[in-house]
Symmetry: C2
Subunit: 343 residues, 2 copies
Amino acid sequence: MFESYTIKDIAKALGLSTSTVSRALNGSYEIGAETKKLVLEYAEKVNYRPNPIALSLKEQKSHSIGVVVCEVANDYFSQAINGIESIAYNRGYHVIITQTHESFDRESTNVKHLLSRHVDGLLVSLSAETADTSQYKYLHDKGFPIVFFDRVAADVNTHKIIANNFKGSFDATELLIKAGFTKIAHLTNSNNLLISRERFDGFKAALDKHQLDFKPGYLKHCNHGGMIQDEVELAVKELLNMDEHPDAIFIASDRLTISCMHILKRLGIKIPQDIGIAGFTNSDVAELFDPPLTVIRQPAFQIGQMATEMLIKTIESKWPIEDFITEQVETELIIRSSSQKLF
Amino acid sequence: MFESYTIKDIAKALGLSTSTVSRALNGSYEIGAETKKLVLEYAEKVNYRPNPIALSLKEQKSHSIGVVVCEVANDYFSQAINGIESIAYNRGYHVIITQTHESFDRESTNVKHLLSRHVDGLLVSLSAETADTSQYKYLHDKGFPIVFFDRVAADVNTHKIIANNFKGSFDATELLIKAGFTKIAHLTNSNNLLISRERFDGFKAALDKHQLDFKPGYLKHCNHGGMIQDEVELAVKELLNMDEHPDAIFIASDRLTISCMHILKRLGIKIPQDIGIAGFTNSDVAELFDPPLTVIRQPAFQIGQMATEMLIKTIESKWPIEDFITEQVETELIIRSSSQKLF
DNA sequence: ATCGTTTCCGGGAACGTTTGCACATTAACA
DNA sequence: TGTTAATGTGCAAACGTTCCCGGAAACGAT
């Protein structure tokens, strides 16, 4: 039944006061053994569950956490959310998810909305458009719990969970180089995002190590994170139409990787004969692609879990936290034939 | 700022009572024009937002809806959840998502948990294991708002949103037949699910129409909905090892379709040369598969939206609802080469 | 001057909890 | 017999709202 018993009901039924019942339920030492037993048994019998809303009001805690991501229909984020939910559920928190669709305005209003919902903390992965992180800085300075994951704000000193983007990029790029590709382009997200810069650095470092020089024309940013199909298409076409066009593309985000594959398919470009491909994605079906796709995969589920654990620890901490840590997790390079150069 | 102003604060600052402020904010006719203006302006200035938790306690409504699905990391369900969120957000509800992982026990505890959270209504897609729907019947009889989507409970008379499973299956099967396949197997979910039975009926009807007889050995149920990889693998292998093995498989669920593709790939089975494939899935990358996969696609986003609209309408209805409707939406058959017979 | 109406506003209860405090009972002690 | 301590229980406030009442002031009509 969904009309639930309250402490008042129990008190009335047992001829006790609500305070006594409350204390008995919470195992207070100042309640007699038999009274306690009486209450506990009755509560069990009628399946008493404390009203979480009343508790929230009393404790001034909503027991909910707000999540800000660009979109949920995305392999990386749906896996991360899975991780977030799994921890939150067990710890008695519920999760309110909001999507920015890579828009800074949406992100701001989402944060405001979550705050007006009185969430106890925020789990944030920035939108591609976001350059201004002052709202987070402000909240964080006021002591509001925030944990960033994946797309972190460089200038807000709070807990963060990130993948080893440099190494992931370096390894993937080096893989392409070792396979024999020499003219490697880089398709990436907005430069606002720290991950874009880190991934670029890894890419560049691999080039440097193998004495390949970096062509500025081979670097393409999609400032809307792949939400605008035309933007990606334009970038890809520009690469393909260059006089000395690239023989491989290293792609730095999940959505861009998938978009790019669609575009290449539509254009009839053969992989890896015409162009080699390696990209970040958490798709579980990259193995089934034609050709099977070489990917850099992040432990999205674990990242979601770690971020949530950290956030809840921060929320429930008795003292203000001053030591904020940045956890780094390793990526996984899964080599398939899209990155194999054919001679 | 996240410490928000309360009505009390406003009352104190303006030398009014909380009742007056509350009424002014709600535009009550019994408040003088200038008082109202004063309050409204001050509230605007300090960016007053009513505390949703206090409101919930007062109104005995949590403004949240519970969602029960088998998993979120699934193309169909992540798209549906996207639709659910989009409506709920606009209507001022938040969404609590729970996953059954196709287990009936998990489903029961999830429902109990959501109820103890005082959700105002439930959006449910049954687990593959669920045969007993009495808990929903009970709640529904008590007047608790429930809307089923996709995997509906046949014997609970409430609002439902389903795809035209019969037609989707019929069309896909007929497509395989017309392509020249004659020995078509059917890989599907547990028979507990109404959608499995409907999809089987569509499959069977197409066979009948074209005078192909149905071989019981060609029907394989995965009672755990594809959550157990070995179960799917066994089913697929049994089909392939039959004396007169099928020349095509029609697959009736998202997860099974993807699982089956992985298994066939690992076994080195060529599609469509060795076996033709068509299956239900909402994957956005089926086009990129090797070979491109013929799919039956459901309008998952819209289904999520419709279900949520219906649920909120039921929640907010003044009178008890007696006319419950079942909305049916059409599926989309996307023909690609996995279902093209090569001679 | 008295009464009824209108207009405007405040007091206080209620929603379901927790918790500081006060109180009652009993037992032990002087 | 009175004092103290220990034990067990209840009252009431608080969290932020809404809303039923009751009431004060102003006004016109009698």
